[in-house]
């Protein structure tokens, strides 16, 4: 089992992704393909002319590509989130490398664009990839605010978009669209299972704390829903001004309330700061700390002993003891000389998703066919089996992990093949 002390930082609002390992066979089930054809935009230009002569030939083997597939990567490569962008890119490229560097026999061309994690630039950046560079598929972003800007353009242009991280709920609910898929998670999906776990472990009164921003509040909402449904009570919800990492005043507040436990969402530097301060204040002796996986993911090295005993839920753990995950971890380690993190898995699954979809298309991989193929993909991912809901969100396992001696130990599957609420998604019939 690879032990990971990954030092990837994630700042505020990103979270890990899902990834799927490649399935090499063709047993994809076709699901609701017709739904996706509702909104056909004028995309897919470069694929149109492709492979007429070869139509009918088996693409999954070694069909000659007349047309490369252009993948537009809109991820942060500068600034605070750059490490995440790099992990996702590494994972994605590894997946496609493993497929012989091609997607269903088509060569692959990458166009990378630094999203700067800047939401106000997101629409123009997305527009540049789609209209300026003419990419076939956009992969991005990390940041939920950027995702909103991208989705706006994805809606206007119909560009096929795969979100390898951003966890905003709306992307696969209110704002879902046929051309947008997600290989990561939603804030809700990671935190909801913890509500029942905390209740089952005997806690009845809990304080929740996060940053006062959209991602944190969505995460807390998932936990609070499950915990109160089970019969527990949220005695206080604390919202810390974003991106402050000065937690002393809140720790004193928690101590004076003295709840049964604390549930938190912080990520990156905030996660490290909070967990360390929590331990330094001695609170972990009397009040157990629960959190979303981002609290400790990529932070174990910086956290040291302070993280011992912290329990989190997450759709992946680098220590997952499955052959798929072990194969992935060692392949990644070999390719990049470092252990993969959750983001790498999310990128990897985005690559496998594309590979399987392209490989399954008989005939011309136009936009419609590609969407149908993407919907039908089932991934045998390092994180476990992954399929996609009607709103194109991953249906996946969420694991309960406990930090012991600088490692995530997977205690149990907190929720098996969990589907997220998507009743506001028009694609859900």
């Amino acid at each position: 089992m690879a032990k990971l002390t990954i030092d990837k930082n994630l700042n505020t609002d990103n979270t890990p992704s899902t990834d799927n390992t490649p399935t090499t066979d063709n047993t994809h089930r076709r699901r609701q393909a017709s739904q996706s054809s509702r909104r056909l935009g004028p995309l897919a230009r470069s694929l149109q002319a492709a492979t007429l002569a070869l139509a009918g030939a088996a693409l999954s083997t070694q069909a000659l590509a007349e047309h490369d597939v252009k993948l537009g990567l809109m991820l942060p490569y500068s600034g605070t989130y750059a490490a995440l962008g790099e992990s996702i890119t590494n994972g994605l490229k590894l997946a496609i490398e493993q497929e012989g560097g091609s997607l269903g026999g088509h060569g692959v061309e990458y166009v990378t664009l630094d999203s700067e994690a800047n939401p106000s630039k997101a629409p123009q950046n997305m527009s540049r990839l789609v209209k300026g560079d003419g990419v076939d598929v956009v992969i991005g972003p990390v940041h939920s605010g950027v995702a909103m800007g991208m989705l706006r353009v994805a809606k206007q242009t119909g560009a096929i978009t795969i979100i390898p991280n951003a966890g905003l709920e709306a992307a696969t609910n209110q704002l879902c669209m046929p051309n947008v898929f997600r290989t990561s998670f939603s804030m809700w999906q990671n935190s909801y299972p913890m509500g029942q776990v905390a209740y089952d472990q005997g806690h009845r009164k809990i304080v929740t704390i996060t940053w006062d921003y959209a991602g944190g509040k969505e995460d807390l909402a998932g936990f609070e829903q499950a915990f109160t449904d089970a019969g527990g009570e949220i005695v206080e919800q604390i919202l810390v001004p974003f991106p402050s990492t000065e937690f002393q005043t809140y720790l004193a507040q928690i101590a004076s309330i003295a709840p049964d436990a604390v549930y938190t969402f912080f990520a990156g530097g905030g996660g490290v700061g909070f967990v360390r301060d929590y331990a330094a204040a001695g609170l972990n002796d009397s009040i157990p700390l629960y959190g979303s996986g981002f609290l400790t993911d990529g932070n174990l090295g910086a956290l040291g002993e302070a993280a011992n005993g912290v329990q989190t839920t997450m759709h992946y753990a680098e220590t997952l003891d499955t052959p798929q995950n072990q194969a992935f971890v060692s392949a990644y380690q070999e390719a990049y000389g470092e252990a993969p993190d959750t983001y790498a898995v999310q990128g990897y699954d985005a690559g496998k998703l594309l590979a399987q979809a392209y490989a399954s298309i008989d005939g011309e991989p136009d936009r419609e066919a590609l969407i149908a193929a993407l919907e039908a993909v089932e991934l045998d991912s390092p994180r476990g089996p992954v399929s996609f809901s009607a709103s194109h969100h991953p249906i996946q396992n969420v694991y309960l992990r406990e930090v012991r001696d600088g490692e995530h130990h997977v205690t149990s599957i907190a929720s098996e093949q969990l589907e997220v609420p998507d009743s506001a998604c028009p694609m859900k019939s």
Binding site: A82, S120, R128, G132, S144, M148, L168, Y213, A214, K217
Partner: protein
């Protein structure tokens, strides 16, 4: 500003305008398939140019350096987002005045407070107010918080039931933004050459003297502040219209810093300079981003070099080419003459009290 620009500047501006107007004729030939994208990019530059021009009224003409001007840009964007109906297009006849009203009103209130301060204190108070709105929008669920908010339908421009122009058409929208920029430019140029402009100019040079001459300088400054904010609000509204998206990042102080850079790069106090600055800044950024993932270093160095060797910006080069001594326009753009006035100093005495000339007066 009372100065007439040399003919070469006028020619250059008109040539630039003609080039933009004729984009449909040459764009596709030059950019091929990407031509539609570059037109979008140009539209965005026009919007930023409008934003930069509005700031020039404060920074260049009045000598008040604001580090919170994005407040009004974002206010315009969010006013549109909040006032737009969910399932149909709003009317621009309503939206444009509404945005101007809201920006103007907020500017009047903020202006009354911040205009009491000068120099660095003005920089800091404008920053503070910008951050206040930034946090209000970032934490409110009504505005979508940090994720931002969609505007599903672009406002339409119709006479009764008959659409006048189709703003959904990118080319039409491009021309619409261009027309607005030209109109605002002409208005501001007329304004700065009017008596009102002379008074602003006088305040820039020496506010006490203007007060001694009997001018209610605060009133003049407030009007300029409000006008500037209204234009910035319209720019923000256009930006939100272009992609149908508003986000708190549009309000942040980094955005204020960027637009300030556009003003300086172009040449402040000239009105036309910041337009060139907006184009230059965006083009540089586009170029650097293509060059390397570490583009912030290049951008940072460019800013530093521009400040050190090109304090009057591109406009300074045009108005006063190297080798030609034109002192007439020396004070435009805070060039050396202006700067030589310099700060007098502010100081700490032993127990830390500020003594001497206050820093606040330094930059006025």
């Amino acid at each position: 500003m009372l100065h007439r620009y040399p003919k070469r500047v006028t020619v250059l501006l008109l040539a630039g305008l003609a080039l933009l107007i004729a984009y449909p004729a040459w764009g596709p030939a030059v950019f091929g398939e990407s031509s539609a994208f570059f037109m979008e990019k140009l539209t965005l530059m026009l919007i930023f140019a409008l934003f930069a021009v509005s700031l020039d009224l404060l920074v260049g003409i009045l000598g008040l350096v604001s580090l919170g001007h994005a407040l009004f840009f974002g206010l315009g964007a969010y006013t549109l987002a909040m006032a737009s109906p969910d399932f149909s297009a709003a009317s621009l006849w309503w939206m444009l005045p509404l945005v101007m009203l809201v920006s103007g009103l907020v500017a009047a209130i903020v202006g009354l407070l911040v205009l009491r301060t000068k120099g660095i204190f003005f920089i800091m108070t404008t920053l503070a107010f910008g951050q206040m709105l930034f946090y209000t929008v970032s934490t409110s669920s009504m505005t979508g918080g940090t994720d931002g908010v969609f505007i599903m339908f672009r406002p339409s421009l119709a006479m009764g039931e008959t659409p006048l122009i189709d703003l959904d058409n990118p080319l039409t929208f491009f021309y619409f933004c261009l027309a607005l920029l030209v109109a605002v430019y002409l208005i501001l140029r007329a304004l700065t050459r009017s008596h009102f402009g002379q008074v602003l100019d006088g305040i820039h040079d020496n506010e006490h003297r203007m007060q001694a001459l009997g001018y209610a300088t605060t009133g003049y400054k407030l009007i300029a502040f409000v006008v500037s904010a209204m234009i910035a609000g319209v720019a923000g509204m256009l930006a939100a219209m272009q992609y149908g998206f508003a986000n708190p990042a549009q309000l942040g102080w980094h955005h204020s810093g960027e637009v300030l850079m556009m003003v300086i790069l172009g040449g402040m106090g000239t009105i036309f300079g910041p337009i060139l600055g907006a184009f230059a800044y965006e083009l540089l950024l586009y170029f650097y981003e293509h060059l390397t993932n570490h583009w912030p270093i290049l951008m940072g160095l460019t800013i530093i070099v521009a400040v050190l060797v090109l304090p009057k910006g591109i406009a300074g080069l045009l108005l006063d080419p190297p080798g030609r001594q034109a002192s007439l326009l020396g004070r435009l753009g805070g060039g050396k003459d202006n700067l030589a006035k310099g700060r007098q100093t502010s100081a700490s005495d032993s127990d830390g009290k500020s003594v001497g000339k206050s820093a606040g007066e330094v930059s006025s």
